[in-house]
Structures are given as structure tokens and as C-alpha cells.
């Protein structure tokens, strides 16, 4: 597609100069270092006190491992939040600013198809998101070595899931912001993806875990679940929960893990792929219909 490379290149250049993304990145980067450093200091303080591990209920190595699990679990949450913020920030601006400022008038009068323009914008938005979240994840991975490492694969798996989910959010904001004001687009997306879809997924998960006995409710949410995007979850979340329960001395049971999301299966991943294609198609349709 002629021109989509140029659109992607210069959209990325613009994104790299946007202060809001830089601010999110800096806050995320400082937060991860502070979290890792803080937990490590906590360990050092505990280890330097001879009475800390004297009771014998927990030794220094177990405590260190517990802190690492705690750090990784916080990092997962932090990455998910920052990926969402970055997805919203990119989605709200990548196409909307061209339309709102009037840049689109000059761009669309050039020999570039709307399909190539939409493809270039989507490509730039996805690459931008991956680069920023990827850098935060690299930093988190480096900080994990403070605790001796060993959970790097869990981070990689969860990072893929976080980025995949953020891509869906970003595509929804991109398409909605082509029709309406970008702040309104973010609000609509938040209500749709984070509230409505979130509630449906949670009730579906509880029903799956046997916590909701009513068959009618289960059936309704089974249907609804396959009408909304699925948030991908890596096995790390459940593994982490299991390890934390074990380290605290509790026995892991299905009941205890029922409220922890199960890892996404092939069906969920295929549904994610379909969702991405559908929302990318919606972005193209919105750009194609748009008169400037």
C-alpha cells in the first residue's frame, strides 16, 4: 500500500515528541525502580536484624522469594495500567489530531488511499505502544535481578498479554475518535471495554469457577462473553497466586483460585485475533467515511 510506510514513519516521529507519552513513560520507569528498590531495602532491613528470621517460621531465602513474587505481581499490575494509559493516549491522538487540526485535508488530497492511511496509522500506533511498554518491561526485568531472577518468563508471558489487550483498547479509541471528539471517544471506550466488558468477563469467570449456581445467568453470560473482546491472561497470574498462597502456608485449591483469572486458551487467542481485525476494519471504515 503506497504511502502507509510514510504515514507510519511520521506518526511515530510525532508520537515520540508528545510530552504526554514521555510523562507516562517516566512515571512508569521511576515507579518500577522505586517499587523494586523499596522492596529490596525492606529485605535488607529485615535481613540485617538478627531477630527477623529467628522464629524459624520463614527463612531469609523464602522471604526474598516472597518479595520477588510481590514485586512481579505489582509490576504486572503497573504494566497493565501504563499500557492502558499509553493505549488511550496514542488512540486519542494518532488519527484525531490530523482530523481536528485540518492536517488531513492536505494529506488526503495527496495520492494516498484511505486504506493506506488507516494502515499506516494503526501500524505506528501498535509499534509505539510496543516500544514504550517493552522498554518498561525491560526495566522491570533488570530490576528483577535484584532479587536473584528466575521469574523472567512469567514477565514475558504477561507482557504479551498486556500488550495484546492494550492493542484492542487502542484500536477501539482510534476508531471511535474518528467519529467523535477524542475525550468522548476515550470515555465511550472506557465504559465499553473497562466497565461493560470487565463486568461480563468477571461474572463469566465466576460462573465458570462454579461460584454462580443459576444456570440461566450462566447461559446468558456465556453468550455475552463471546460478544465482547476477551482480555488475554497469561498463566503467570495463576502461578503467582498459587506461589503466594503456598508461601503464606496455605494449601492451594480450586476454590481459592476461583477468583484468579485462568490462562487464556486457544479460543480466547483466536477471538482476540478476530477482535483486532474487526476493530482495525472499523478504523478503516471510519477513516474512509470521514469527509474533511
Amino acid at each position: 500500500m503506497n504511502g502507509s510506510g510514510a504515514v507510519a514513519r511520521y506518526t511515530l516521529l510525532e508520537l515520540s515528541r508528545r510530552r504526554i507519552l514521555l510523562v507516562f513513560f517516566i512515571i512508569g520507569a521511576i515507579g518500577i525502580i522505586a517499587l523494586g528498590g523499596g522492596l529490596k531495602v525492606l529485605y535488607q532491613v529485615a535481613a540485617s536484624n538478627p531477630q527477623s528470621f529467628a522464629s524459624g517460621s520463614v527463612d531469609a531465602a523464602t522471604f526474598n522469594h516472597f518479595l520477588e513474587l510481590l514485586f512481579v505481581s505489582y509490576v504486572f499490575q503497573a504494566l497493565a495500567i501504563f499500557a492502558l494509559l499509553i493505549a488511550y493516549a496514542i488512540g486519542m491522538t494518532a488519527i484525531y489530531h490530523d482530523l481536528d487540526s485540518g492536517s488531513a485535508v492536505s494529506i488526503f488530497s495527496k495520492p494516498i488511499s484511505r486504506l493506506a492511511f488507516a494502515a499506516g496509522k494503526i501500524l505506528a500506533a501498535i509499534v509505539g505502544l510496543i516500544v514504550i511498554v517493552g522498554l518498561l518491561a525491560l526495566e522491570a526485568r533488570a530490576v528483577m535481578f535484584l532479587f536473584g531472577g528466575g521469574l523472567e518468563n512469567a514477565l514475558t508471558g504477561q507482557l504479551l498479554a498486556v500488550v495484546a489487550n492494550a492493542i484492542v483498547v487502542m484500536l477501539i479509541v482510534l476508531s471511535v475518535s474518528t467519529w467523535i471528539n477524542n475525550i468522548l471517544a476515550a470515555v465511550v471506550t472506557f465504559i465499553y471495554y473497562n466497565v461493560v466488558t470487565g463486568i461480563i468477563a468477571t461474572v463469566h469467570m465466576l460462573a465458570d469457577g462454579g461460584l454462580i449456581g443459576n444456570a440461566a445467568v450462566r447461559n446468558v453470560f456465556d453468550v455475552l462473553y463471546w460478544l465482547v473482546p476477551h482480555q488475554l491472561v497469561s498463566s503467570a497470574i495463576r502461578d503467582l497466586a498459587k506461589a503466594q498462597i503456598e508461601i503464606a502456608g496455605g494449601a492451594t485449591s480450586n476454590q481459592a483460585l476461583a477468583s484468579v483469572p485462568a490462562p487464556s486458551g486457544a479460543g480466547d487467542i483466536a477471538w482476540w485475533g478476530f477482535t483486532v481485525l474487526a476493530f482495525a476494519g472499523l478504523v478503516y471504515y471510519a477513516v474512509r467515511r470521514r469527509q474533511v
Binding site: 503506497n2 514513519r9 510525532e14 487540526s101 485540518g102 492536517s103 492536505s106 488530497s109 495520492p111
Partner: protein, 255 residues
């Protein structure tokens, strides 16, 4: 002469209940011709040029750009369009905007290296390192004209090209139009500066409320001993409701 633009019975309105913004406009534009599209504010001039540039879809009627539908990207290959109040991606610099647009035009690296500095120099933006968001309206207007000529177009559409320019800028644009016209480029000029239009255009169409009131060669539209401004004011005033020109609190002389 080859037909560059053919507009047939074009109609456009933005909402179903709105009056027609463009109502049955028809004209042709040939290579080497400079065509002035005139009209008061809201006459539909910008809507017409946006339909020619493939930015708006007509409700009825047809537009042909180099024999094709302007919605087709290939038809716009030889089009240069300088919009009214142009704007550009605000975090880019002028040279980056031109490189971006040159890429969209399909110019190769060597051609981009040759054309971009010369185009920037023509626009008086050489050595300008600030990002577009820090530009004045006049600087954006200059860049708007620069990006429109970058691809050596066969049709140049200028929508109010001199509205925000200083006198030197206006002179440069006038010289540019003359030069391009002489080399066979078709020019479509939207402007409120009627003296300028009279100087550079050989054909004009005067629009009001979406309709063409008069169209023809400059010599036909402007009779001997008259000027374009007189003709324009007379025609437009005869075709729109009369207004009190001053509010009563200004025209009232009693304290």
C-alpha cells in the same frame, strides 16, 4: 486543450435539513487556464474545491479529475491543493512535513533531496527549525503553498492562498501562478482579493448561496470601464437578502 477538471451539476449539503451548500454548479477547467472561483462567505467555493480534491463526496452530480473520480488516489497524483487555513502535523518541522508529503507523492530519495530545500527556500522557510505548532498563520499558509507545488502538479488549487500573507508573500504567489500558468498548469483560485483574481485569472465564476451567478472569460464578465469588484458586488447584492450594514447602536448619531 486537455480537460483537467469537469464539474457537472454538482450538489452538496451537509445535513438533510440544511440548504444546499453547492447547488447545480457546472464548469470545466483546461490545462494552462487560470480559473477564479469567487463568492461571498458561505457561497460554497471551498465545498466545490474539496469535492474536486476528493475530500468531500457530492450528493449528486459528477466531478472528473484528469478523467477519473477524485476519490481514486491515482487521480490525485497530479493535483496540488493548498487549503484555506492550512494545518499540518503539529509536532513536525517544515522540512519533515515536506518529506512526508513527498513520500506520499511517491518521490524518490534523490528527488526529495533536490526539491525540498528549493521549495522551503521559495516559501521562505529554509533553516526553520521550529515545529509547526509554533508557526504563525502566515507561515502555515506559506507551507501550505509549498506542499501544494512540491509534486509539480498539473492542477493547482489555491483556496484563499494569500489571506494570511504579507505583501511580499502575495507578490510571490502572484508570480508563481503566472509562471505555472505559462508552463501549462491549470490553476483554480478561490479568493476574496478580487484585484488579484482580475490580474491572474482568465476565466471566473461568481457563486452565491451555492449557485453560479455568472461565469465566463474575464473580458466577458467585466465590461470595459468596470472592474471585477463592482461586478461582483452588484451581482451578489442582487442575489441575497438586503442587510442593514451597520448595527443601529453604531449608526445612531444621537448620544
Amino acid at each position: 486543450m486537455a480537460g483537467v477538471v469537469s464539474v457537472q451539476n454538482l450538489r452538496k449539503r451537509y445535513r438533510r435539513r440544511d440548504p444546499w451548500a453547492v447547488d447545480g454548479v457546472t464548469f470545466d477547467l483546461q490545462a494552462g487556464q487560470a480559473f477564479g472561483l469567487l463568492g461571498p462567505n458561505g457561497a460554497g467555493k471551498t465545498s466545490v474545491v474539496k469535492m474536486i480534491a476528493g475530500l468531500l463526496r457530492p450528493d449528486t452530480g459528477t466531478v472528473s479529475l484528469f478523467g477519473s473520480d477524485p476519490g481514486n488516489a491515482v487521480a490525485r497524483k497530479d493535483l496540488g491543493f493548498s487549503p484555506e487555513d492550512p494545518d499540518f502535523p503539529k509536532f513536525l518541522r517544515a522540512s519533515e512535513v515536506l518529506d512526508y508529503f513527498a513520500s506520499l507523492l511517491g518521490l524518490d530519495q534523490a528527488e526529495r533531496r533536490r526539491r525540498i530545500p528549493e521549495t522551503l527556500a521559495f516559501a521562505g522557510l529554509e533553516g526553520e527549525r521550529r515545529q509547526i505548532r509554533q508557526y504563525s498563520k502566515g507561515m502555515k499558509q506559506r507551507l501550505g503553498i509549498a506542499q501544494a507545488i512540491l509534486g509539480r502538479p498539473k492542477l493547482l488549487i489555491l483556496d484563499e492562498p494569500t489571506a494570511d500573507l504579507d505583501p511580499m508573500g502575495r507578490r510571490d504567489v502572484r508570480a508563481l501562478i503566472e509562471r505555472l500558468k505559462a508552463s501549462g498548469v491549470a490553476i483554480l483560485l478561490n479568493s476574496h482579493l478580487l484585484s488579484e483574481v482580475e490580474l491572474v485569472c482568465d476565466t471566473v465564476a461568481i457563486l452565491a448561496r451555492g449557485r453560479v451567478l455568472k461565469e465566463g472569460a474575464m473580458a466577458e464578465v467585466v465590461p470595459e470601464g468596470s472592474n471585477l469588484e463592482d461586478v461582483f458586488v452588484r451581482l451578489v447584492e442582487a442575489n441575497q437578502p438586503q442587510r442593514d450594514h451597520l448595527p443601529s447602536f453604531i449608526s445612531d448619531t444621537t448620544p
